[in-house]
Symmetry: C2
Subunit: 342 residues, 2 copies
């Protein structure tokens, strides 16, 4: 399988994450991508190429231009305001408040944020752009070959909504790639999110559309980030009614339950008969992930890769989360090897 | 003038505030109240008494019971979850997300928060309860005597909405006291907020009611916290239409402009003919306040105290913000002395 990778991901190297009331070294860190790339090479998964550079046009098919402008300029505005730390939202448009983007960066960052754990730093924008270039380059390869590819994206993307960042995500790589399939002529695309965390950004982006079937297996939002989206009763809206499927699962969920949910999701994908499949691939479902509560083993990743392959679809894997850094390479590549039947 | 004060305010002694992407010692700190009390005694403002203990009944006239339960138990739930820092919201129900309180404290705190600068700590609940007892004791004195009193509240309250804390505020002391006047027979109460920051909580609580006239002079929300409420076009809703007046003002505003806004507000209060006046008294309008941008001098505080006195109303002063700690006593008591004609 082709892998697309950019070493510009390393420009996203925040010092701080707000976690448990402390500023700690971020769980989402550069070595994650390095370990995955190392494993791709170790097992000889296939060719590794650098991304092409795309314009922002495919990105603004998904994201609000004001949001993109904010992402590009946030760090400079933050520094100019005299703040000394990394750029972190400390207030936001809460219940009953105005949905107007303030002028001052202290407020503007809250308008465009859905969480405060994720800082914006020097280099974040450049890394996020390279990450979506990785996704679009891999998408192009899948579209051209009708086979599969692995976009080794970092930073991840699935929490990013049309106009909000958070959950370590800035540009929604999977959503941009999904839209690219459609813009190139696909009639229907399925977007399957197997990251431990609900793909709230992807869901929100496609919630009222029937040309994208979104399915997410994840920790129950009553117990897990993003906490405010991902319930089973969120089934789509308007034309999108019936095209959104959530599988929230509780603490301690192991592969017997998780795999059954995946089988159900795969059956729905078959029924939808999409032209392509995009997989938001997070491996924080792993039993030893430090911030998640599912109990999948490394072997389980290989097993579910095979399940996804059985769909027989042109398939684009987009890297999302996974914070058990030592095992992230084995776990992510196990999915791809399982998919390849290796 | 009678002052009500409780030394239990010192139980609110957080170590951390999220500011500019760093965790810094909080601007809202115990010495603030001590300096104000010292100045009250230094000038011989009048008797200083401790508060009576009230039940939660007057508090739940304003605040959601689920929110009050959260405030009472947040710190214990946070510690039980294994978090090491003070309790700070790191995610929230952002645009398009569910307004459901999650089970896990990591999500629950975001549901009940409107900002992340304010941590919840051991002792916060006890101090917030004592603070609202201070407000209610002073309210009772004003109601009984038809004169004036100073509730030396700490923590402050005006940012707290019916079901959200933030901006250093937990229970909205001014709103609870305002409701107490009404519940004791007042037909109309005016709530004048002269803190530098918009009184978003107070506004939201009374926004659809005509028995409370709310007026706030404050930094333009496009430039200043709380950033998402306090615009001039917020004039009330339903029965409350026309009973909410905001005076947002820009950086560098001095007393010529600020005093003219106060005169306009006082004219509206006269027209409303309330039975009592509650003043949310913040002195962060001071020229040397470290986190605000108005330019009032210490003498200006005395001048506007006289303007408020000219309304001739039973008046309850509720202490809110002010972060120029060395001058906070002089500035706050200057308002009260100006009111007394001293």
């Amino acid at each position: 399988m082709l892998t697309v990778y950019s070493d510009k991901h390393a420009l996203r190297d925040a010092r701080t994450e707000l976690y448990g009331g402390e500023l700690v070294p971020p769980f989402e860190c550069p070595v994650r991508a390095e370990h995955i790339l190392g494993r791709v090479r170790e097992v000889g998964l296939g060719e590794v190429i650098a991304p092409r550079e795309f314009s922002l046009e495919p990105v603004t098919r998904i994201h609000d231009p004001g949001f993109i402008h904010f992402l590009e300029h946030c760090w400079q505005e933050w520094v100019a305001a005299g703040f000394k730390g990394e750029a972190i939202a400390a207030n936001w448009p809460a219940r009953g408040m105005q949905q107007r983007a303030p002028h001052h960066i202290e407020g503007k960052i809250g308008y465009y944020a859905l969480a405060a754990e994720t800082s914006i730093t020097d280099g974040t924008w450049q890394a996020a752009r390279a990450s979506v270039d990785v996704a679009l380059t891999a998408q192009s390869a899948v579209a051209d070959s009708s086979s599969s590819a692995f976009a080794l994206c970092r930073p991840p993307g699935h929490h990013a909504a049309g106009d909000m960042f958070g959950g370590y995500c800035f540009i929604n790589n999977a959503a941009v790639a999904t839209q690219a399939f459609l813009d190139q002529g696909a009639a229907r695309v399925a977007l399957l999110d197997v990251d431990f965390h609900h793909g709230n950004g992807s869901q929100a982006i496609f919630y009222d559309r029937d040309d994208v079937l979104f399915l997410s297996l994840h920790g129950d939002p009553a117990e897990a980030f993003p906490h405010f989206l991902g319930y089973a009763d969120e089934t789509g809206h308007g034309a999108g009614q019936g095209y959104n499927h959530n599988y929230p699962m509780g603490p301690g969920t192991a592969f017997d339950t998780w795999g059954a949910a995946l089988d159900d999701a795969c059956a729905k994908i078959r029924g939808y008969a999409p032209d392509a499949l995009v997989v938001s691939l997070g491996v924080d479902t792993f039993e030893n992930d430090p911030i998640s509560f599912f109990k999948l083993t490394s072997d389980d990743f290989r097993r579910y890769g095979a399940s996804i392959a059985s769909l027989g679809l042109p398939t684009l894997f987009i890297m999302e989360g996974g914070y058990a850094v030592e095992e992230i390479g084995v776990n992510a590549v196990n999915v791809l090897q399982g998919f390849e039947g290796d």
